[in-house]
Symmetry: C2
Subunit: 354 residues, 2 copies
C-alpha cells in the first residue's frame, strides 16, 4: 500500500471512528473530524489530521472531558460566557460559535467568551461556517507561551491567532486566519530538521539576540508581527480570551504537547456581526464582489501573477483537494496508520481510488 492521496470524506469517517472508539461521543467525534479534515482540505496541514494523534493521546491520558458538555455560565444582553468544561476544543468552539451567531441574529452583534477550553483547531473552520450564513465573524484565542513581549527574552504569549470571516457573493469570501507571530514554531522546527537558516525576523535566541539558527530559535522566543504592534495584539487577545473569561493567561496556558498533568485551560472569544442590521445582505454581497474585484485589479509587482484576497488560495486548494484527494507526507501517513490500527480502524478505506 502506497497511499499518496486520501479522500476527504473517507478521512472524516476514519477520524470520527478513531475518536469515537477513544471515547468521544458520536456527534462530537464528527465535529472534531470535520475540523481537522477541513484544515487539510485548505492546505493548512499544521491544523489537520497531523493533530489527531496528540488529541487522542490527551484523551487516553485522561486530560480531556468527554461526557459533560460545555455549559453556559451566563447570557446577558448580547454577551455570553461559556465554560468549556475541558471538552475537546472543537466541541467547545462550535458551541461558542452557535451562541455568538444566535446573539448576533437577536442583537445585531454577539460576543461569546469561553474559558476552560483546549486546542480548538483552525480558526477558519468557525469563520467559514459563519460566512456561509451571511454573518461576519471574528475569532480570537490564546495559546501556550512561545512569544516574548517586546524587549523580553522568555516566552509569555502564545502565537495568539485572529481569524476573520466576511461573506461575499460570487467572489470567494474574505477569510483571514493569522497568528500574531511572524512564523509558526512548526516552521522553525522544520528548518532545524533540514539544517537550513531562518530569516532574522522570525525569532530570538535564549539571550534575546536575533538569530538565523533554527536550533537556537527553538530555545528562544518567536517574534511578533510588526514588532511592538504584534506584541500589543497578542496581549490584547490574551486579556480578552483569558482575563475577561476566567481562562488561563500567559504562561498559565498549558502546552498541548509538553504538559501531561493539567488541562490546557485555553480561552477564546467569538464575536459575530449580523450584516443585515446595516444593509440588506444581498447588497452587501454585491458590494463585496465589486470591492474584491477592485483589489484584485491593482497593478502587480514584477513576478506576481495575481493579487490574492485572504483565504482565496486556501479555497482553491480546497476545491482541488476535494476532487483530487489530499496528499500527506509519509510521516503523517505512518502516524495515522499506527493510530488507526491501534483502534482497529482501516485507514485504507480513505485512500483515493483513481
Amino acid at each position: 500500500m502506497n497511499p499518496t492521496r486520501f479522500h476527504w470524506k473517507g478521512l472524516e469517517q476514519v477520524a470520527a471512528q478513531v475518536l469515537s472508539r477513544a471515547g468521544v461521543r458520536g456527534e462530537d467525534a464528527q465535529l472534531v473530524a470535520r475540523s481537522l479534515v477541513h484544515a487539510d482540505l485548505r492546505g493548512v496541514e499544521s491544523h489537520g489530521l497531523s493533530r489527531l494523534p496528540i488529541y487522542v493521546q490527551r484523551i487516553e491520558a485522561g486530560l480531556i472531558e468527554l461526557t459533560q458538555p460545555p455549559a453556559l455560565v451566563v447570557r446577558q444582553g448580547a454577551t455570553a460566557l461559556i465554560d468549556g468544561k475541558n471538552q475537546l476544543g472543537v466541541v467547545v468552539g462550535v458551541a461558542a460559535l452557535d451562541e455568538a451567531k444566535q446573539l448576533a441574529r437577536q442583537h445585531g452583534i454577539g460576543l461569546a467568551g469561553v474559558r476552560h477550553s483546549n486546542h480548538f483547531g483552525s480558526c477558519s473552520y468557525y469563520a467559514e461556517q459563519a460566512v456561509d450564513e451571511g454573518l461576519i465573524l471574528l475569532v480570537l484565542s490564546n495559546a501556550p507561551a512561545s512569544m516574548a513581549p517586546t524587549g523580553g527574552i522568555v516566552p509569555f504569549f502564545g502565537t495568539n491567532p485572529i481569524a476573520i470571516g466576511i461573506p461575499a457573493g460570487e467572489q470567494p469570501p474574505f477569510l483571514l486566519d493569522m497568528a500574531t507571530s511572524v512564523a509558526a514554531r512548526g516552521k522553525i522546527a522544520l528548518a532545524a530538521k533540514k539544517g537550513s537558516a531562518i530569516p532574522e525576523d522570525w525569532a530570538i535566541d535564549a539571550d534575546g539576540l536575533p538569530t538565523h539558527d533554527p536550533t537556537k530559535a527553538l530555545l528562544g522566543s518567536l517574534l511578533p508581527i510588526g514588532g511592538a504592534k504584534g506584541y500589543g495584539l497578542a496581549m490584547f487577545i490574551d486579556i480578552v480570551c483569558g482575563l475577561l473569561t476566567g481562562a488561563a493567561v500567559g504562561p498559565g496556558v498549558k502546552s498541548l504537547y509538553d504538559n501531561w498533568q493539567d488541562p490546557q485551560d485555553i480561552g477564546h472569544v467569538f464575536l459575530c456581526i449580523d450584516v443585515q442590521r446595516f444593509l440588506p445582505l444581498d447588497a452587501f454581497r454585491q458590494s463585496m464582489d465589486a470591492y474584491i474585484r477592485q483589489v484584485k485589479n491593482v497593478p502587480t509587482a514584477p513576478g506576481v501573477a495575481e493579487i490574492l484576497i485572504p483565504g482565496e488560495i486556501e479555497q482553491r486548494i480546497m476545491t482541488a483537494r476535494k476532487q483530487d484527494g489530499i496528499p500527506f507526507p509519509q510521516t503523517v501517513v505512518e502516524e495515522l496508520a499506527k493510530l488507526c490500527s491501534a483502534y482497529g480502524i482501516d485507514l485504507a478505506q480513505a485512500v483515493c481510488t483513481a
Copy 2:
C-alpha cells in the same frame, strides 16, 4: 519670543478659539482642541496641533459641515449606524463613542458604525475615555490610500489604524494605538528631507521593488505589518468601516491634504465591551494589575531597561508634559503662530511661564 514649551491647557484654549473663530460651534471646537492637544501630550505629534492648520484650511475651503450635527441613522439591538454628516472627525468620533458606550452598558457590547466622517485624530483619544469609565474599547478607521495589497504596486488601503483600550487598576491602562502599515508616511517624508535611508520593510517603489530610498518610497506604496497579515487586517478594517457603514473604501477615501473638491467620507467602527458582564470591574482591574506586573517581570534582552506595556511610554510622556510643558519643533510653532495671528488669537498666552 522664543517659545520652546507650551502649557497644554493654554494650547487647548488657543486651538478652541481658532476653531471657534473659523466657524466651529463652541462645544465642538473644544472637543477637537482636546483631541489634538491630547496627542501632543502623549508625544504623538503626528496627530497633534500640527494638524490644526489643515483642519482649518478645509473648513475655510467649505469642505467641512459645521452646523448639522452627526445623526443616528438607525439603532437596533446592540448596534447603531451614525451618519457623520461630514462634520469634523473628532465631533463625529465622540458621538460614535458615546453611542457605543451607551449600547455596551445596555447590552454588554455595543457597535457603532460611522459613515461620512473626516480625519478623527488619534484613536487613543477615544480609547482612553472608554477606559476611564471601566469599558474596553476597540476603534477602527479607514484612511486615504497609501498601502498596496500584497503583490500590488499601487496604494489602495490606508494605514487603517486599530486602537484598543483596556482598563487596569493601579497600573496604567492598556492603550494600543497602531497603524497596520510598518511605518507612517510622515516618517518616510522626514527621511527624504534629511536625505537618510529607510529600512527595507517600510515601503516599495512605484515598480513594486523594495527600496531604501525615501524619495522613491514616497512615489510608491507603504508596506503592511507582517506582509499578507497586515494587508488582511487593513482590508478587514476597510470593509467594516466602509462597506458595512456606507462610507468610502479603498482609493475612494479622499486625502486630507490633496483633495480640495470632496469630503473625505471616512468610515469608523467603535466597539465597546462592558467588563462587568463577565466579572466585577474591581476584580478585573486587580487581574489586570497582576497580569501587567507579570508581563513587566519577563527577563529582558541585553540593553533593554524595562518591558513597556502598550501606551505606557505615552502615559509617562503625558505626565511629564503636563508638568513641564509641550515642546514643539520650530516649524510647527511658526505654522501655529501664523494661523493664530490670522484669526487674531495670541499664541503667546499658551507659552509656559517657567
